[in-house]
């Protein structure tokens, strides 16, 4: 860390970089966080595909409540509140995860509606779980990059 004594302008810029790096590092999630998000999305996909509305609505409520709880938990653990910047890389990866989940849910519901292939619905759910699990750390990394390398830290 830069000493408080003999603090010149380049030191001040170094302080800016250090501070933003420190904030970014705090946003690192434990390894289990991403599979949990993926499993949640996959389970929701399967429940939505195989269940009737009596299952779908509670599944939706559970999924939304789970997502809110995860965000609250992250905020509590890191002590930081952050939102994904529109148009950034984190936004891109979050979009990939959300779009894959949405397509998966529609596909699962369609397969279940017109066929008896329950195994295919489960496979679609697994696919969603894998894509979301793979995208989630990329969202996290991109978010940390945005915090660390924002226009001020350059």
């Amino acid at each position: 860390m830069v000493s408080h004594e003999e603090f010149d302008d380049s030191d001040h810029l170094e302080v800016v970089r250090e501070a933003r790096s420190a904030a970014a590092e705090r946003l690192k999630m434990p390894g289990w966080f991403h599979p949990l998000v993926g499993l949640g999305a996959g389970a929701f996909t399967v429940a939505f595909g195989l269940g009737g509305w009596g299952v779908r609505i509670p599944a939706m409520v559970l999924f939304i409540a789970g997502a809110i709880l995860l965000v609250m938990w992250r905020q509590r653990v890191t002590g930081l509140a952050v939102t994904v910047q529109t148009g950034g890389r984190a936004d891109h990866w979050a979009g990939v995860a959300a779009f894959s989940a949405m397509i998966g849910v529609i596909a699962a519901a369609t397969v279940a509606r017109f066929t008896d292939l329950d195994g295919v619905v489960v496979l679609i759910g697994l696919g969603v779980a894998v894509i979301v699990t793979a995208s989630s750390p990329r969202v996290g990394q991109a978010l940390r990059d945005e915090v660390r390398d924002g226009p001020i830290a350059r």
């Binding site: 501070a19 890191t78 509140a81 915090v147």
Partner: protein
Amino acid sequence: MTARFDEIIHSPHRLRICAFLSGVDSGEFAIVRDFLEVSDATLSKQLKILAAAGYLEISKPTGRGRIRTWLRLTQTGRSAYQDHAQALRHLVDADLQNL
């Protein structure tokens, strides 16, 4: 973004606080204190100066569990910090050119 040196932000502690909070929406008091490695009283003093300048909002949301204090740069604070960082960059660039 314009380059404008800001005496309030220029203090090392306050610059660290602003830089730390500039990348996030808000941060908890204890996290900022630990990052700065200062006492509660020292941080509070710096926060009061930033808040008095309209650069910082301090909130204590009530709810279950212990009350946590959250800090957030205001729009004015973010702009002042960005202008200050830009001014620093210009000064450093000018120093390098004069070498």
